[in-house]
């Protein structure tokens, strides 16, 4: 047992070194309490649904989410819109389908099985429309940024007037949390820019939190299932380990040696 405690402390030491090295250029992000963190972390459904509203009404004008489908909106562990609601949401978008019997492409209302409609045809079109900067796809955005949810949450609220002496080009904005502090995206949120269907006050802070929660789910749609299964798996392993430990003691008691 003693060896194992030592082993674990060595392991912890190594992990400390590496997590420290990863976090070396860490910034102090704004903090908020995320409901999905921790052993039993779950998403806040209301927040996810509001976050989806922020995404469609604000972000989706420029940012695609190409790995998500409308059916995901009604799946378990997500915003959990009802199937009817998800169908209605899908039907409010037009997708190009085809070719039909005459060999022509046609548009039709989207169905549950369709992927989220993209704001631009392709990456080049997106760049052209945004001054050369490609608004990144948001499907896995949270996992693609070092600071994760805290970074996105802070960035959305990090717009400030540039410090004196800093020269910003046309179409470039100052953001406290952006790498290099220069960002092409103008501040996307302002108080009351949208009206929440559930009556929540749409402050910048609230919207940032909701949309970040939504993005977390989009990047990690099985997070709740993972937490649930993880807890069961670890409890199971602890029970089995205990049983094996006592079996081992019994077996080794036949020879005079300490284990």
């Amino acid at each position: 047992m003693k060896t194992f405690i030592k082993f674990c402390s060595i392991l912890g030491f190594i992990l400390c070194i590496f997590s420290h090295s990863i976090a070396a250029d860490k910034v102090d992000y704004l903090k908020t309490d995320w409901s999905f963190k921790g052993l039993f972390g779950k998403f806040d459904r209301g927040s996810l649904q509001r976050g989806y509203q922020v995404y469609t009404e604000v972000c989706a004008a420029c940012h695609s989410m190409k790995y998500l489908s409308y059916r995901n909106l009604s799946e378990k562990g997500g915003p959990e819109f009802s199937v009817e609601q998800a169908k209605a949401i899908a039907a409010s978008f037009e997708v190009v389908d085809g070719p039909n019997a005459d060999g022509e492409m046609f548009t039709r209302p989207a169905k549950l099985s369709d992927k989220f409609v993209m704001p631009y045809e392709n990456e080049k079109a997106a760049q052209a429309a945004n001054g050369g900067a490609y608004p990144p796809d948001m499907s896995v955005l949270v996992k693609a940024r070092g600071g994760g949810v805290d970074y996105i949450y802070s960035l959305l609220q990090g717009y400030e007037t540039a410090p004196a002496g800093m020269i910003l080009d046309e179409g470039v904005h100052y953001n406290k949390y952006m790498y290099g502090n220069k960002i092409k995206m103008s501040a996307p949120l302002s108080d009351g820019i949208i009206e929440y269907r559930d009556g929540t006050t749409a402050s910048v802070e609230q919207m940032s939190k909701d949309v970040t929660t939504f993005l977390m789910w989009a990047a990690e749609p099985h997070l709740e299932a993972r937490h649930r299964m993880g807890f069961k798996a670890i409890i199971y392993l602890i029970i089995l380990t205990t049983l094996v430990y006592f079996s081992m003691k019994k077996i080794w008691s036949r020879v005079e040696s300490e284990v």
């Binding site: 039909n100 169905k111 549950l112 099985s113 029970i239 089995l240 006592f246 079996s247 019994k250």
Partner: protein, 169 residues
């Protein structure tokens, strides 16, 4: 070692083995289940087919869930032939009325129930379909009449959205 002690040890080993076996089984399931149809396949949309251009006596074939679906606009002769067959003459007795709700239209999976080949139109001894792989003959209702196939060709779930459009699935 006392009797009691031995028993407890046996119980301990049994319990350990049993708990271990349960865990091993639980681990095997995801490895098996990953081969089942995934969420995107299950959600696959139904197909809508425009049948306005199909004349009586003609068949069109459309793809649904990776399989061919025969949509035949039957002539009156074919309908009469299908409906006059006696049940006891059938290998897999099914009424034509149950297979084609709208007698003019026969919608069925174009897959031979023997080993999955696609039968040929307007062939065979019963004026319906003939499977070239192992010689199964189907009648004008897609019912098996002769050959190794055990069942009639399957009717998928479908509905008429309007007079000219059939939605399969």
């Amino acid at each position: 070692m006392s009797e009691k002690n031995t028993k407890r040890r046996d119980f301990l080993f049994t319990a350990t083995t049993a708990v271990g076996a349960v865990g091993a089984a639980a681990v095997v399931w995801p490895m098996i289940d990953q081969m089942n149809p995934d969420a995107s396949v299950k959600a696959l949309a139904s197909t809508e087919v425009d049948v306005s251009s199909v004349n009586p006596g003609n068949t069109i074939t459309v793809l649904w869930r990776g399989k061919p679906v025969f949509i035949r606009r039957r002539t009156q002769d074919e309908i009469d032939e299908a409906r006059s067959v006696k049940m006891e003459d059938l290998i897999h007795p099914e009424k034509d009325e149950d297979r084609a709700k709208n007698p003019e239209w026969l919608v069925m999976l174009g897959v031979c129930t023997h080993l999955g080949c696609v039968p040929l139109n307007d062939k065979g001894d019963y004026n319906g379909w003939f499977c070239p792989c192992h010689g199964s003959h189907y009648d004008t209702s897609g019912r098996i009449r002769k050959g190794p196939a055990p069942w009639n060709m399957e009717i998928p779930k479908y509905e008429f959205v309007n007079a000219n459009t059939i939605k399969i699935g």
